[in-house]
Every structure is written in structure tokens, then in C-alpha cells.
Assembly symmetry: C4
Homo-oligomer: 274 residues x 4
């Protein structure tokens, strides 16, 4: 890492969980009604299943949650926070910020923030765009900064955290980038065919995905010192796939001097050195 | 399962077969004429092949059949019913219910119901939407209830049956959800390019698919007690692929205390306890 | 097979080669100019490479050739015919027959027929639609019959030849259907993105494809008695992929009582019994 | 090869690296802002990582660089040139030349040429179209010739270099064609969903890709005497994937009488014999 790692730590490992429930279908199709809708699965099985695995391994994760989903599933969201995980902003209902005015975008940020805080008692400290195939707006990072957030995680342009610049000046906010290869939707999202979206991603068996992620961890441990995984309860939350996460966490914990950290912790390490 | 299983049963296994013949091409392209059309294969090879495997293993399945196909292939449909399998509703010809008025949708339901009943002598007791990439309408579940159906199977939001609510009140109808990973089209449907559809799904060899489904059964047997497979004679009905079903049925039957059940039987187990 | 096989033959094997050169790009994009264009490869490497393999194994194939390509590469087409292979009609330049009047479609058929005959001295005896993603017209089969053709090969609705009906009466023409799983474009066509087309098919290594096709042959040999492969010089004609065809032909020839036959020979066997 | 190889050389191996940074997102979406944007990764990790591997193996590559990216990352581009690699033209910012007038296209060529030359001190000697899914214009080759370029590399119609004809007469320019199977985007580009583009390519593990490319080299070494690989720092530049290039270069160097050559060297060999 460009940033010094904490003493005795050779690699930070961060796990983010995008708890997208029915908001995906509602945001893209204005419909929750039948085939292609796997949002409900996330709530009924995906989140409880993943919380169980995390508890078993003593790992704290960062949950990015669309506030629309939080409003509809407050008990699930409270349960996530009560287990000690970080709650982070993920928009209201999969907005395309590039089509909103700055005022409208600010209102979405504030509304989402308020809902997550009111439900969990936790104040969100960072944001990730939920609109993968669509750009964020020129105002997004400014608004995130004005919300007091200390990190954004919407970019794919690096393998490790870096200081965010706005108008060519560094601000007190860190980018924590992610990579497609370390996002479960590339390997196991169902075929989707919403208007404006057209991802048809081939399903992969669990052992296949586990091997790829182990290779990624191995090289990032050796060369970068930072590992960042993005998963979705709707996709990887099936019983048959939990073994991927179980095995991967065990694999990571078997390496010397690895520390799991939430996104807030990662951001604080970096900002302390800025 | 949330519902108690029958005594001596640790897992219910349900097998649904969507006998979509030329209705797919007609419904989406208004054409049955050459390349991309594999509907006829379902009738000539797919259904007879699958009926043979089911008979060999003594398994009763639930056949969802577009009534348009039933009208054109009444002998095949009668043969399915005569072999003791369940006949269930699957629309007339791949309607997009979200674009029909409630009246039009009711007429489709009634017409499809009447055709299946008149051909087979069996009264359909449940429904699955045939329009995977398109939402069902806000009226669909109400109409299914009014038809006297005891189950719907159009949703992907759970791993086991649950009671359906309409206007926030439970009705005498159970949802029997399915999952993409347990649907053969994800693994072996040909590339299709109809207007409004664009699935291009990579072909998988039989051994690959069998391994994935065995893993799914294994975890669902242990954790949920319910297993639900969706297959299509046009896709999995090739001689080279029948071995998947042969092997899977044998694999499932080798587990202690598994019972195969039709969708009606599953719905009745659940409703008895409601 | 529904038709009796020749004495001493347990399985007929037919190999069709679609020699689509630049006509693909011209037909769909009106352009032959750079990326996405692999038509030229078919002429320079694909056809010579495949002719070599066929000669080595003593197998005669049926070449479906767009006449537009034949006009531009007459020596290649003459070489194919001179080696004893069958020349069959494949349209002029990837027409969408469903958009032509009957008169226009007839003119295309006659023009393509004349060009292939004039170049090779061989009279085409059958046809396959070159417009995979688009339907043939209601007139196509009638026109093919009027051309004196004894087979069509545009449908995917069966695993073996069947007699064609026009206006509910059998005509002296056989359908020789094909299947996606036995078409090389499913396994190794490059990503294409023409308007009106959008196939993005994952590339497969040769050993993978060979295994799938061997399994197909094995089951069709045992259960149907007919095997029909569709390949393209532009796709499978690379040196690295010829081994698929080499190995497959050897594998097929190792089975007892297999006979390779051209499409005309297949059609004649069937019509003799009608 | 049709051209005689240098004495003592049985196979030429050429490696081209398309250093597409944010120009991809800007050219197709007019946006560099979040998800789907991996351009920055190419600059921060991809190029340095690949330069390290090339140095270790003593291989000189040809870098095709959109001038828009060069303007934004001049130090990276200077570093590439300083390490002895060839700098080649790749347009300004992923133009669709088929939509430009000849005058506009000439201006793009001249501007891109000037920028690359001014930054690196190296004069580009060849060009590859950066608009994979879109045709080049009827003027492109003429303009490339007028720029004094000795090669183009935009076509996929052959397995080895050939002399370019313009208006049916050979010019002093060689086509160095490439093949999809030897382009890393087929195996590991992330899902992209830009308007006008829709490639969704399945991710492959490194060992899978290495095996395919070894097989390709093996057959091209034996049969053609020319091997040409196309890679992208944004895709193959991850630490976990560098091993593909490391292993492949070692594999190639283990063959007798192989010589790595830049595209200019390849073109000069050929033109010397014309």
C-alpha cells in the first residue's frame, strides 16, 4: 500500500456486502412481481446466512444498504448493525445520479442517510454507487464530502485506497476502489434483462469462484497489502455458496499478519497519515 | 422448512417440467420458421425422453404447459396426464400479463385452464408465469386465487414454499418459488435473440450441470428440506443430457428420507398447516 | 431413425460446412473493414485447413456457400467441388427472407443457384438459411421445392431427417435439422455486435468442445442413428482447432457400422422410402 | 509465413499492448465517473506491472496508445518509450472513423501522431483501430499510408502479415492481423454496457487462458511461423494475471528459433521482400 499499514499488519482485508433487496427490481423495473426478482431471497436467506458465517469467523463487514430496502426490512438492518457490522450509504433506490440535479441528488443522499441512521442508530460514514452500469454525477463526491463521509467506494481505478481530490485539492475522504473480478455478480448473478441493463453472466460453480478469489488474495497479499471483496446476499447467499465465503475467510485468516477491517477503519488508517 | 414435513420425511423434492413447444417462438416472434426454433424438438424427443426417465425412477412431476402448445399437441399432453403427472397452467402463449387489462388477463387464465382440462380431464391447480424476463401483473395472484388454484410458482424470492398474501391477508394459496441455478435454461438454452429478449447463455456439458445440481441438493437437503428443479424438454430433453436427470434422480433417491412430491402435494402439505 | 438405414449401417454421420466469408460482415453491416471481420480468414486458412483434414479421413462434406462469397472466391469454391464435396445453396448475401416479397426471394434463390452451378459445374440440391437469428419466410420451402431441391436444413426441431409437408401434403423434399450444441459458433464464434445481432459467445478451448461433441455422437449413435455437425471455416478453421475435427472424425470412424454421407445422400436414402 | 523468415528463425512472435486508459470510458460514454471505469487501473498498475514482466524477459512490445490518454499520462508514455518499446497510433479517443469525413479523419490521425511523437520523441510507424465493434472508414488505409506508416493492424482476416493493396495496387504497407482468441478482452474484460457496445464476456481464471494461448502458440509455431498477441493493461494488468504473461513468454522462449519482434520489425522484414 502507498499508505503505511498498522504495525504487525502485512495486508488489510475488507469485505463489503451490498444488501440489495427488492430495490434492484423496483429501481430498474418499477416492479417486484415474479421472474427475475431475487430481492426477497436476500432478506429471507442471504443476509441471515452471511451473518452466520461472519460470526463464526469473527469478521466485521461493511453493509451498503439502499434506504428503500432498509425501510421495508428494518429488523434485518437493525440485526446487521446489532451484530457490530458497519452500515454504509448506497442511495435510496438505485438512482441514476447522472440524471438528477445537484439539489435532487443532495436530497437523496440526505434521505438515505437519515433512514439508515434512524433505523440503526449508526451514522453512515461512507457511500458506494448502486448504479453499476451508469455513471455517478459530477456532484456525487462533493455531496459525499458535505455529508461528512470519510470514504467513497464507487470507482474501479485502483487496487488500493487513495486520497480523493475535489477541484484538484485533496479532501478528507478516501476512495476504496473495487474490482469486477472480486465482485460476486460477475460469477453468479442470474441473467437480468431490465431496460437499460443487459448483463447475462454465466453461472459458476462454488469451487471455481473460490479458486479465482484465492489466487487474487494471494497476489494482492504479496504485492499490494490490500484485499477488497464485494458480495451480494441475493447471489452468494445461497446455502450451496456459503462455503465459498467460509473457505475464503479461513484461507485469508491462515496467512500471517492479515487484519480484517471495515471500510471506516480502512479510511481512518489512511486519513491518519494524510 | 417453515412448514412441518410429513413424518419420516427430511426433504421434499419437486420437479417441474415446462413443456414450452413452438409457443415460445410464436409468443415472442410470431414465427415458427427455421433457425432459433427448437420448440418442435420438445414434442418429438424432449417430452418422450423425459417421460421415460421419470417412469424408470418412479417420479411424478408437474408439467407447466402453455395451452397454445396443448392445442397443437393434444396427444402428447394426454400422454403426460395418463402417466400420472400433474398438469399445471402456464398461460396461453407466453403473454406479458403486465400489458393486459385485468379482464384480458382473466380471459387468458380461463381459456388456458379450460383447454388443459378439456384435453386431459385433469383440473389445473396452480400456475407459473411463462414470461421470465417480464413482470406479472398486479392482478395475477388474485386471478390465480379466483381460479381456485392452490399454488403459484412465478417468484424467485425464497428457497421454500410460503403462504401467499393478497391485500395483506393470507389466502389459501402457497408460493412455490424457484431459483435460476436450478433452472436448466441457465446452463443449456441455445442463444436466443428475440425482440425484447436477449439471453445468450453459455452451453455447459452434462457433467458440469450435474455437479452443480448435486451440490445444490446436498445443501438444500441439509439446511432447508426442500428442493425444486425447473427443466425444459427443448433444452435438457436431448439424449446426451438425459443422463443429468437420470443421475440426479438416483442421487436424490440415495439420500435417506427424501420424498418426491408434485406441486399440488407440496401445496397441500403446507395449506394443511396454515 | 424413422427411416430404415442402409444395410450394414447403424448410424449416418453428416458434416456440413458453412463457408461464410466476407458475406457475413457485408450482409449484416454493409462493411468489410477491420475489427470483427473474420471472413477473409475463412478463405485464406479455414477452407484449405478443413479440406486437408477431410481428405486425410476420406470424408465428403456438404458446403453451404453464400453465392456472394462464391463470386469473390471462385477458385476456392471450385477447389471444394473438385475435391468431391457437395455444394449447397445458402442464399446470396445473408438475406432476411422474411422481409422480401415472394418474387424477390425467388430471384435470390435463382441467382444464388446459377452462380454456384456456373462456378462449380455442380447443381445444388438443397438449401440452408444463412440468417440464424431471423425467420425464413412462408414461401421459402415452396421456392426450394420449385428449385428442384431435395432437402432443406434450416430447422432445429428434430434430431433426424423428416419428410417436409407443404400445405399439409408431403413433398419430395426432406428436412435435415441441426442443433445448436452441434454448431461450432456456439463454442468458438468471436463476439459480434452487428445491428440486429448481438451474440456474445464465450470462447472454449478445443478439448472442451471435443468432449461435448463426442458425448453427443455417443448418444445419437445409440439412440437415433443420425449425427449432424455444422461448422464454419472462419471459426473452427484455425490450426489450433483443427484437432477437434481430426479427433472427432477418428472417434466416429472407430464406431462399428457408421457411414459418412453428404446431405444429398441422406435425402436420397429417405426419399427412396417415402 | 508467405514471407521468408530471417535466417535461423522459425517463428516470429509479436506482442501488442493497447494502453487504453480512461479514453475508453470517455470515448464511449463521455464520462469517467465510477462503476465500469477501469481506465485508471491501467495507468496505476497495469502498465507498470507489464513493463516489469517485459523487462524480466527481455521482450520489446508495441504499445498502441490513444493520444487522449497520452496527453493525460505523459510520464507513463515516456516511460514506455524510454524502456525501448515501440509507440504506435491508436486514434485520439476511440473515434468511429466510419462517421467522420475524410478531412476530419486525417485531422485525428495527424493530431494523434503529433501528440505521441512530441511526448516520446518516437515517430509512430503504424496504426490499429481502437473501435473494435465499429468499422474503419474507406479512407483509413489511405490516410495511414499518407502518414508514412508501414503497417496497419486493424484486420482479423489472416494469421500472418500480408501486403496491403489500395485501389488494387500494393502499397508500402503491411497488414499485421490479429485474432480474437489471442486478445485478452475475450477472456477477462469486465462486463461493459456502453451505448453502442454490449460485450459481456465471461471472466476466466489465469490458468485457463494460459492453456489456450499455449495451444495457439504451439500450432502457429508449427504451421504458420507467426504469433501475435493483443493485451490490455486494464484487463491483464492485475497482479493475479501477470503470471499468464510471465509463463507464456517463458513458454515461447523455450521453443527453438523463436524471435520476438516489434510490429515495425515485422513490417520491415516483410517489406524488404516485397
Amino acid at each position: 500500500m502507498r499508505y503505511a499499514l498498522p504495525e504487525g499488519v502485512k495486508c488489510l482485508a475488507a469485505l463489503s456486502i451490498e444488501y440489495d433487496a427488492e430495490s434492484v427490481e423496483w429501481g430498474f423495473k418499477k416492479s417486484i412481481s415474479g421472474a427475475d426478482d431475487v430481492g426477497g431471497f436476500a432478506t429471507k436467506y442471504g443476509v441471515p446466512n452471511l451473518l452466520g458465517v461472519l460470526k463464526k469467523h469473527g469478521v466485521m463487514a461493511t453493509f451498503f444498504i439502499p434506504a428503500w430496502d432498509a425501510e421495508r426490512n428494518p429488523d434485518t438492518v437493525r440485526g446487521i448493525a446489532a451484530a457490530g457490522h458497519e452500515i454504509a450509504a448506497h442511495g435510496y433506490v438505485h438512482e441514476d445520479f447522472s440524471r438528477l440535479s445537484e439539489k435532487e441528488e443532495r436530497e437523496v443522499f440526505e434521505k438515505a442517510h437519515r433512514i439508515l441512521r434512524d433505523i440503526t442508530g449508526q451514522t453512515p460514514r461512507g457511500f458506494r454507487s448502486a448504479a453499476y452500469a451508469r455513471p455517478i454525477s459530477p456532484n456525487t463526491l462533493k455531496i459525499a464530502r458535505d455529508m461528512g463521509y470519510i470514504y467513497d467506494s464507487s470507482f474501479l481505478d485502483d487496487d488500493e485506497p487513495y486520497r480523493i481530490n475535489i477541484d484538484n485539492a485533496p479532501v478528507r475522504m478516501v476512495e476504496i476502489p473495487w474490482a469486477w473480478v472480486l465482485n460476486d455478480i460477475v460469477w453468479m448473478a442470474p441473467p437480468i434483462n431490465y431496460s437499460g441493463m443487459g448483463y447475462v453472466l454465466p453461472q459458476r460453480p462454488p469451487a471455481f469462484v473460490l479458486d479465482v478469489w484465492k489466487e487474487e488474495f494471494d497476489s494482492l497479499y504479496a504485492e499490494v497489502g490490500f484485499f477488497n471483496l464485494v458480495i451480494h446476499p441475493r447471489d452468494i447467499g445461497r446455502f450451496s455458496r456459503l462455503a465459498i465465503i467460509e473457505s475464503l475467510l479461513g484461507f485469508i485468516q491462515s496467512y500471517p499478519e492479515v487484519r480484517f477491517a471495515t471500510y471506516s477503519e480502512v479510511a481512518e488508517y489512511c486519513l491518519k497519515q494524510a
